[in-house]
């Protein structure tokens, strides 16, 4: 797929996965890959800058916890992140509806 199609939606996808509970980078990437049936493969070069950016924007918060004998960084959604996710989902649905309207396909 054209990576530019994905780049605009990365934040939404990450926030959605994180909204389901505290999780970490590798698990997020695998979840996105699995749920999209291999369609969205977020590379590490996109994943971590996006996560850190969301953290700086205080849309996600992080904490460290030991797992499998080593420290692991977990991300969780902040209240601001939850509001931002709802806004992005609404915005996305409107976008899809618009695109479908033009392409003449059934709504999502």
């Amino acid at each position: 797929m054209d990576s530019r199609l994905l780049s605009g939606t990365v934040d939404t996808l990450l926030l959605e996965v994180i909204s389901e509970g505290p999780t970490y980078g590798y698990a997020i990437a695998q979840t996105v890959l699995g749920r999209s049936r291999g369609y969205f493969e977020i590379t590490e070069g996109s994943l971590y800058p996006a996560l850190h950016r969301l953290e700086r924007q205080k849309l996600v918060d992080s904490f460290w916890k030991e797992a499998e004998g080593r420290e692991r960084k977990y991300y969780k959604l902040t209240p601001a992140g939850r509001r931002a996710l709802e806004a992005k989902k609404k915005e996305w649905r409107q976008f899809v509806t618009g695109v479908h309207g033009i392409l003449g396909e059934a709504g999502a």
Partner: protein, 604 residues
């Protein structure tokens, strides 16, 4: 490649959060290890898994740099803005030369400090990068692909946890679920180890068997979330010493073809090695001892008791006084009676006089002269022999006397069942030696009104010194006189056998046995007033039930010791139930508690 992880980063800054670099590296490290585990599951090969992870990840150094710059971007921009303002300020102050020079000097020192700080931080980050690379590329660290899968290794050592490796021992590991069953059956290597590979976490059943079929088994739990689990098992380094037992027949009975000893051999079914229980003989055991009965004939043939339950049951009845049949023994005899020490014991049931020419499993009842002494004897060997040693089991003289009497009676009556050869042999034996006399035994009695209080007591006889500051004694009386005394109370003893080391300790109670003619010499108490002490009487009665059979007895009747002899059973603080017996022919010191003979000298 990961050595250069921080190569593209600028020098650490004073305004940089102290753990920023560390946390970036830690997070990426975790990601890489997760990816490595996943790829190892797919590729099944560590090198290939590492290659795939690094190929997919790209250049970690660039990502580290990007994350660092993203984090520091705001501060860097602020600093640049500040630097611009400073430039304006410096230009405004250019006229103030002295002040400017001073400022410049301080700036140089600050720059040097920042450089030093930067060098140290870079070094620390470099070490982290190296550790990350090692964890990914080290072949030896075959980290499991899933926390549920654990690299299991088994380590066997001999005799102790830090002992030499136990190589060549059979290891069986079984367990797992129905869909993921493990059934491993391999031998330990020269290093005593067995690499079981990846196994799923859970409970397993491990069995270790030595090359001589001694084995242990236990459950082991392999816990999830560990890269590696090692099960250590301490094994016996060598088999128990083995020896062969044979009956020490008197020469007159040895030549009789239809005689045999019935005896039981009792061996511990287990032994303990560093807290591990090992079954010393094959198969599962539910008793501490394995008992096997044998008929050992004068011709050297050894007939083990039959294994079937009927035979075992009949032999059980026989032990309670029932009759003995040859059909309860196996039809194939052994040529040697092999025992594994050092704890094997034997119990002599008696001597069988079999029908002429009969051998197991003929359906014939046998005449039987029972042994009155139902004590287990210790068949011990000294030291650790290289090969099998022989232990000779002697028959008690009292039993032999009765066997000879029985044979003589058979000869006199011309019993139809008596074999001609047997009768002839008895005749020869009768010609060769006088008809033996069975020693006379006497019922014994203790009298609660005859208790003596010794304060003090001192006995010195034949190398034995026994003394006490205060002790109570009750005579053991029989028709022949006072043949012993039970002592209740604390005291001390010391015995120095001829050519042996001194054996000494403290006793809490004791039983003395002597010839009535020696009583005054050994223990003069005629001038000590008799008192009534029912406690001493009761305790002595209880003690005699155990101690009396240790020496000079026929059941609970007294045999009279030869003159000059003295036997003492001591309940010793140090040695437990200890017999010290000395006579003109024999001297023996034996611990019934330890089943160990400490000293022996003489004919028996």
């Amino acid at each position: 490649m990961l050595d250069d992880l921080t190569a593209e980063l600028p020098a650490p800054r004073d305004d940089e959060p102290p753990e920023l670099r560390t946390r970036i590296v830690k997070e990426l490290r975790d990601h890489l290890q997760c990816a490595y585990q996943q790829e190892l599951l797919r590729a099944g090969d560590e090198t290939e898994a590492t290659r795939r992870v690094l190929a997919k990840f790209g250049d970690p150094a660039k990502l580290v740099k990007k994350l660092w710059f993203d984090a520091m971007w705001g501060k860097i921009m602020s600093q640049r803005a500040l630097a611009g303002i400073c430039g304006v300020m410096i230009a405004a102050c250019v006229g103030l030369g002295a002040i400017t020079l001073n400022v410049a000097s301080n700036a140089t020192k600050a720059t040097q400090a920042v450089l030093e700080q930067s060098r140290a931080a870079n070094q620390a980050l470099l070490e982290q990068g190296r550790a990350l690379q090692q964890s990914l590329t080290a072949k030896a660290d075959s980290r499991p692909v899933d926390p549920e899968w654990v690299h299991l290794k088994i380590k066997l050592t001999k005799d102790s946890a830090d002992g030499p490796p136990a190589d060549g021992y059979l290891i069986k590991l079984a367990g797992g679920s129905a869909t993921n069953k493990l059934d491993l059956n391999e031998k330990s290597g020269r290093d005593g180890r067995l690499d079981c590979g990846l196994v799923r976490a859970g409970m397993y059943h491990i069995t270790v068997e030595t090359t001589w079929n001694e084995r242990t088994e236990r459950k082991v739990y392999v816990r999830a979330g560990q890269p590696e689990s090692v099960i250590a098992v301490v094994c016996p380094g060598a088999s128990r010493p083995r020896f062969e037992a044979e009956i020490n027949w008197p020469s007159d009975l040895k030549q009789m073809p239809d005689l045999g000893v019935v005896l039981s051999i009792r061996q511990p079914s287990r032994r303990d090695v560093e807290g591990e229980t090992w079954d010393v003989t094959p198969g599962r055991h539910y008793a501490d001892y394995l008992v096997r009965r044998y008929l050992v004939k004068t011709d050297g043939s050894i007939w083990p008791a039959a294994d079937n339950q009927g035979a075992q049951s009949q032999l059980g009845d026989f032990e309670k006084g029932g009759r003995l049949s040859l059909r309860w023994f196996q039809e194939s005899p052994l040529t040697t009676l092999k025992l594994s020490g050092p704890d094997a014991q034997y119990l002599l049931h008696g001597v069988a006089i079999t029908p002429p020419g009969s051998n197991p499993p003929d359906d014939n009842l046998v005449r039987f002269v029972r042994n009155e002494n139902k004590e287990w004897g210790a068949a011990q060997i000294e030291g650790k022999p290289e090969g099998a040693q022989r232990v000779r089991i002697s028959l008690p003289e009292e039993l032999l006397v009765r066997v000879r009497e029985r044979l003589a009676k058979l000869m006199e009556t011309g019993d139809a069942e008596a074999t001609a050869s047997l009768v002839a042999a008895v005749a020869v034996a009768s010609d060769q030696k006088e008809k033996p006399e069975r020693p006379k035994s006497y019922p014994i009695s203790l009298n609660a009104n005859e208790v003596r209080e010794f304060a003090p007591l001192s006995i010195k006889h034949g190398g034995l010194h026994l003394w006490s500051s205060e002790v109570s004694g009750i005579p053991i009386s029989c028709e022949a006189g006072v043949t012993g005394m039970v002592l209740i109370g604390n005291g001390s003893f010391r015995f120095v056998p001829e050519g042996g080391d001194a054996i000494e300790g403290h006793f809490r109670a004791a039983m003395l046995r002597f010839n009535p003619k020696d009583q005054r010499e050994i223990l003069a108490f005629d001038k000590i007033p008799a008192i009534t002490d029912r406690a001493v009487h009761e305790m002595s009665n209880h003690l005699l039930k155990e101690a009396f059979r240790h020496c000079w007895h026929s059941g609970m009747e007294a045999l009279i010791p030869e003159e000059g002899s003295l036997s003492v059973v001591l309940y010793s603080k140090e040695h437990g139930d200890l017999l010290i017996s000395s006579g003109s022919k024999d001297t023996i010191v034996h611990s019934f508690t330890d089943r160990k003979t400490l000293y022996k000298k003489g004919s028996n």
